[in-house]
């Protein structure tokens, strides 16, 4: 079999590709008064790269800069470097700009997120059938977020609702429940991607990008703990949550700690009818990049087996970021059948996509 044929057979699904919408394009899609506001004042919520500089090629693959513009903004380059290069079956777009846009003043946040969704639809999804996308929502204004979910519910190319790890409250907070309910009603998972507004009220501020990036795993662990312990999965039994770019191997120890705590503190969480690990296993999914790399590679397979969730792991490249994982070389430490499910099968099942 040729490489091309093998690729066709496995039809990798990439669960984390970052498009970027240039400011001028975004402005062109904003209605007034938001366009003038955006062009004269801008936005208020600072994204993490503003204070944790990415000291690795500015955070990007060096070859991902188009001749004009920013990495992730050029569909042709994205095709060349990801979709065509690896025979990708589908790529899931995750536009990070909404992580902070979604925390702006409610109507403004809605307008910005809607402009992002329109740019994604017109500039990426319409011309490229191999791309699907996450839906940007003003997550801090749940009623408006619900409206945006309903607006796109008829477009099957929007395959999940996007949420930042750095929201203004813990993800199990009841204020977000309408978003979870609307996503579940539309048959869409909620994808939690690292980033958004940065908070360190418990742990203290780190000094370096290295720490900030390492903490992503803990951000996901805290998000999952909050969703499970505050009973969100009892309230929205159909909700599925994808934790993107936060690693995986912390999940088993987290489940051990949640179950150990719960077994002694059940009266504190009467809304939970079962052990926390049961909710976790039935509702949580992971993406691979950046996956932990033990010195002994077999420990990774062991850690995955301990979760009992290998069928809920999705391969991701994280294009165009510097720590891009190539579909050709990633996850080679895993047994073949497990790797194939992660590269392809699991994600097709989650997103109800047909393999090409």
């Amino acid at each position: 079999m040729t490489t091309a044929q093998i690729r066709q057979r496995t039809a990798v699904l990439d669960a984390d590709i970052h498009p970027a919408i240039p400011a001028a394009r975004l402005a062109s899609l904003l209605a007034e008064p938001w366009r003038t506001r955006y062009q004269t004042i801008g936005t208020r919520v600072a994204p993490p790269p503003a204070f944790y500089p990415r000291v690795r090629n500015g955070g990007m693959r060096l070859d991902a800069y188009p001749a004009n513009g920013i990495p992730g903004s050029d569909l042709k380059l994205l095709r060349d470097q990801v979709l065509d290069a690896y025979g990708i079956g589908y790529g899931v777009l995750i536009p990070l700009q909404s992580h902070t846009f979604g925390a702006e003043q409610p109507e403004y946040a809605q307008a910005l997120c809607h402009a992002l969704n329109e740019a994604i639809r017109q500039d990426f999804l319409d011309p490229e059938p191999r791309l699907v996308s996450s839906l940007c929502v003003p997550h801090e204004s749940p009623e408006l977020a619900v409206a945006e979910i309903e607006r796109y519910a008829g477009d099957p190319r929007f395959v999940q609702v996007l949420f930042p790890g750095g929201a203004q409250a813990s993800l199990g907070h009841q204020k977000y429940l309408p978003i979870y309910r609307a996503a579940a009603a539309a048959g869409l998972p909620v994808a939690v991607h690292t980033g958004g507004a940065e908070h360190h009220r418990a742990d203290g501020w780190p000094s370096f990008y290295l720490e900030h990036h390492c903490w992503f795993g803990n951000v996901m662990a805290l998000a999952a703990t909050s969703l499970v312990c505050e009973g969100v999965f009892e309230q929205v039994p159909d909700l599925q949550v994808v934790l993107v770019e936060g690693g995986i191997s912390w999940a088993a120890p987290l489940m051990w700690s949640m179950d150990a705590g719960w077994s002694r503190l059940r009266q504190d969480v009467p809304m939970l009818r079962r052990a926390p690990s049961e909710y976790f296993r039935e509702h949580i999914w992971f993406s691979t990049q950046p996956i932990e790399e033990p010195a002994d590679p077999k420990h990774l397979a062991m850690a995955l087996a301990q979760t009992g969730m290998a069928d809920r792991v999705l391969f991701a490249t994280d294009y165009p970021h510097w720590d891009f994982d190539s579909p050709d070389t990633a996850l080679r430490a895993l047994p073949k059948d497990l790797r194939e499910r992660i590269m392809s099968e699991n994600a097709y099942r989650l997103y109800h996509l047909e393999r090409p």
Binding site: R201, G204, S207, Y209, W215, G261, P294
Partner: protein, 352 residues
């Protein structure tokens, strides 16, 4: 500490004054009137950390004794030492953890707690050692307290709360404190819970005690990473850190992630000469409680393969707190020699 053959060293035993008035002999007139005027009481839940009714807050024998944690050495003897207990115990008093944001009050209160520990506990039972508490909102005052009590060999540790520092403990702000501890060969103990003004999650207050309880195991990881990557073990090679009541089974995953990322963005922390894992096992230890273990023997042996538990973990009863019987299960899974290290050898090597 010298090892006593066949004996147990308990590295996390709690005591607390019964009331703020207990500390009055160790507070000056200004602070006594400050406390009285503000009608300050000690928090019955230790700032939400240990609600008295929570099953995790007290073992049955502690509950039966009425007052927990023990507020006098006689009670501790009866409850801990007389019942096939340890030959030595390190007292951790977290009474000052949740105090107000006034750094001068935190300084006065921590100093009073230390003097109370000395007078009412260390002077009365030579099996006891203690952690001194220091103000984290005034590093100069913390250094002064370490200098004052450092010569008293019965203090073996400087205890810091993991939650609610504005920056992580590896930050430059804390270097004088870490240097002073290292100078006196005092272990720096990072203990669960902390400033009640700061929420247990990065984003805010939570709605369940279960989440608060679990948050310590996440927060402590931030400090571990910070201490390693800020290079404090290169500046202060004698510095030792004990992670108390924060779990330990999260370690393999954290190290796999940190080692990988350090190899990629090392240029941000050029002073690190060895992989993070090397600093971790050289400078850190953790207490056994709470032990969050996998179900089943097979996964437990996998955990033992993934991390160096026999050298990393030190036995602690965490008396009077009750996290279940997992630590007993861990000890039972170890060979005789490893069990002895966890029960006393590691602590004997680690503490002065």
């Amino acid at each position: 500490m010298t090892e006593i053959a066949g004996k147990i060293t308990d590295t996390d035993v709690h005591c607390a004054p019964a009331s703020i008035e207990t500390l009055f002999p160790f507070l000056d007139g200004y602070w006594r009137s400050y406390v009285t005027d503000a009608n300050l009481k000690l928090s019955p839940t230790f700032g939400g950390a240990y609600p008295p009714g929570a099953p995790t807050s007290a073992k049955p024998e502690a509950r039966a004794a009425g007052t927990f944690p023990p507020d006098n050495v006689e009670a501790l003897r009866k409850q801990l030492f007389d019942t096939a207990g340890p030959s030595r115990a390190i007292l951790n008093c977290t009474t000052s953890f949740d105090v107000s944001r006034n750094p001068y009050y935190e300084t006065a209160l921590t100093r009073a707690v230390n003097d109370w520990l000395r007078t009412e506990w260390l002077d009365r039972d030579d099996r006891l050692r203690a952690s001194m508490v220091v103000p984290t909102t005034d590093v100069d005052a913390a250094v002064a307290e370490i200098e004052r009590l450092g010569p008293d060999r019965r203090f073996v540790q400087v205890l810091l709360p993991v939650r609610g520092q504005d920056v992580r403990f590896g930050n430059k702000r804390f270097h004088p404190l870490l240097a002073a501890a290292a100078r006196h060969d005092l272990v720096v103990g990072l203990h669960a819970w902390g400033k009640v003004a700061s929420s247990p999650s990065p984003t805010g207050f939570l709605h369940t005690y279960l989440e608060d309880y679990l948050s310590n195991t996440q927060i402590v990881q931030a400090h571990v990473v910070s201490l390693i990557v800020e290079g404090v073990f290169i500046r202060f090679p004698a510095l030792k850190i004990c992670l108390a009541e924060c779990g330990f089974s999260w370690l393999p995953s954290l190290l796999w992630r940190l080692d990988k990322e350090w190899r990629a963005v090392w240029r941000e922390v050029p002073w690190l000469k060895e992989p993070p894992e090397t600093y971790l096992y050289r400078h850190f230890r953790a207490t056994t409680e709470p032990a969050h273990l996998p179900p089943g023997d097979e996964q437990l042996s996998q955990l033992l393969e993934m991390m160096r538990i026999p050298e990393f973990v030190m036995y602690a009863s965490d008396y009077p707190h009750d996290h279940g019987d997992a630590a007993g299960r861990l000890l039972a899974a170890l060979g005789e020699e490893d069990r002895a290290r966890v029960l006393s050898g590691n602590a004997a090597d680690f503490y002065r």
